[in-house]
């Protein structure tokens, strides 16, 4: 017997694999084919004369731990334009606070001529509130909100922040020991800016949950890779945040780069490592706050508003990064001036 059931809570390519592999383990099912496009799963198996509703209920129990449920009726995917009534002012408020902070001269608060671990920590706090927030914070927000939307709240965040702290410690030590920095030239920074801007723009659009066409470009590992990986969807949710966390060491942020130059001048593994670690720990409170803002959101009425606000903020940061990238290579005259 062939049945088609509608899947509620399906977002990603990896969901297809999780649903299929879970369902196939059920002895009653001989084959299962999930479709992301139709948000449905086609199953074949022996259910006797069970009504479709009971089948859906029984199989939902297997999938519930992953955050999916099977229903007979199609989920009404309301775009909830009403959410924007709150999301737009909230996003504007957040961005206004961000601009105000820059105008108030937050970066001028650093007065230290010499760097101790304490000042490195303090500089970290200031860096996390500076325009670097548009790069690193924007990336954190887009990533954590995207993972939260897929139902994975805690682990990706911990992996990201853990990866960031460890990479700052290790790479800081390396540049201190070898006495050479990983400075990027103008072209590399431009390419990075472009890449980060593009990724953030796509994630931001996805978070708005209005244009479904952008789903195709989601931050996922291709299906043919994840199919061969052991933990099906685990790869995407483990490796991505970890790698992004490590990569933040190289992201274009003035503070990170001058701290690296300082760490390089310290001329030793431990002093370089500890300086960069102190800096990264300084950036942690604000970044953690950003990433765990999506942590508190449960699938309630507020979730839609939160994801739309996050999407708008992420898109604004993406535009900021892209425009600045074009300014640096001289393609357009300076736009922002803080």
């Amino acid at each position: 017997m062939k049945h088609v059931l509608h899947v509620h809570g399906m977002h990603c390519k990896a969901c297809v694999l999780v649903i299929e592999s879970e369902l196939r383990e059920n002895p009653k099912i001989s084959s299962a084919h999930a479709s992301l496009k139709g948000h449905s799963v086609e199953i074949q198996g022996e259910f006797g004369d069970m009504p479709l509703e009971s089948i859906a209920r029984e199989l939902s129990r297997i999938l519930l731990k992953h955050g999916y449920s099977l229903e007979v009726v199609r989920q009404i995917r309301g775009k909830k334009w009403g959410d924007f009534k709150v999301a737009v002012p909230a996003a504007i408020g957040f961005l206004a606070a961000f601009v105000l902070l820059q105008k108030a001269g937050i970066v001028n608060l650093v007065n230290a001529g010499t760097v101790t671990y304490g000042t490195a920590f303090l500089i970290g706090i200031i860096a996390s509130l500076s325009t670097c927030m548009a790069v690193v914070g924007g990336l954190v927000l887009s990533m954590s909100a995207t993972f939260a939307k897929e139902g994975d709240r805690v682990r990706p965040q911990i992996l990201f922040h853990g990866g960031r702290l460890v990479s700052f410690f290790v790479l800081g030590g390396v540049i201190g020991a070898i006495g050479g920095a990983f400075t990027l030239n103008a072209t590399a920074i431009f390419v990075l800016n472009l890449l980060i801007g593009a990724v953030m723009l796509v994630l931001g659009i996805n978070l708005l949950d209005v244009f479904h066409f952008a789903k195709r470009f989601q931050l996922t590992t291709p299906k043919f890779i994840s199919r061969h990986a052991l933990g099906v969807s685990k790869l995407n949710h483990t490796l991505t945040p970890l790698l992004v966390g490590i990569a933040t060491f190289f992201l274009p942020c003035g503070f990170t780069q001058s701290m690296q130059l300082y760490a390089l001048a310290t001329g030793g593994f431990s002093s370089g490592a500890l300086t960069m670690l102190a800096f990264a720990v300084g950036t942690l409170p604000v970044l953690a706050l950003i990433s765990f803002s999506s942590f508190s959101i449960r699938n309630g009425v507020k979730a839609g508003i939160f994801f739309k606000t996050a999407g708008l903020v992420v898109m604004a940061f993406a535009a900021f990064n892209l425009i600045n990238g074009f300014v640096v290579i001289g393609l357009i005259p300076p736009v922002f001036d803080f």
Partner: protein, 129 residues
């Protein structure tokens, strides 16, 4: 809702705390003398203060004269510590504190535009005949 309020409160306290903590240090005035362009021994020196942007943002200098761009830093860790000048292929990292001289050669009349490495702090020097 409760956690939202708590998060906002923590943010405000943290930002306020940083301002309080560091404000207690001496607040330097961000004003440079109006004539930041000086000529000595046939060389023209354009002085800029680099911290949270470049001051003054616009300078006027003479064209066709050996020119040095002197950048002063004091506790500069932000973007302004990495200077880029378009069209001249200048890309320098400044020390947190000190002065850095960049040789601009003898510029043609026109406007030289520079910015920090990430592009949000611009400055320009107008070279006049």
């Amino acid at each position: 809702m409760k956690s939202t309020v708590i998060s906002i409160a923590i943010t405000v306290i943290m930002i306020g705390g940083v301002f309080m903590l560091v404000r207690s240090g001496s607040e330097q005035s961000g004003v440079l003398p109006a004539d930041n362009v000086t000529v000595a021994d046939g060389r023209q020196i354009v002085e800029l203060r680099a911290k949270g942007g470049y001051l003054p943002e616009m300078s006027v200098a003479k064209a066709g004269m050996p020119t040095i761009l002197r950048l002063e830093t004091s506790g500069t860790f932000d973007c302004s510590s990495s200077v880029r000048i378009r069209g001249m292929d200048v890309s320098r990292s400044l020390p947190p504190s000190g002065t850095t001289d960049i040789d601009l050669g003898s510029p043609e009349p026109g406007t030289l535009r520079g910015s920090c490495g990430m592009g949000m702090y611009p400055f320009e020097i107008v070279f006049e005949k």
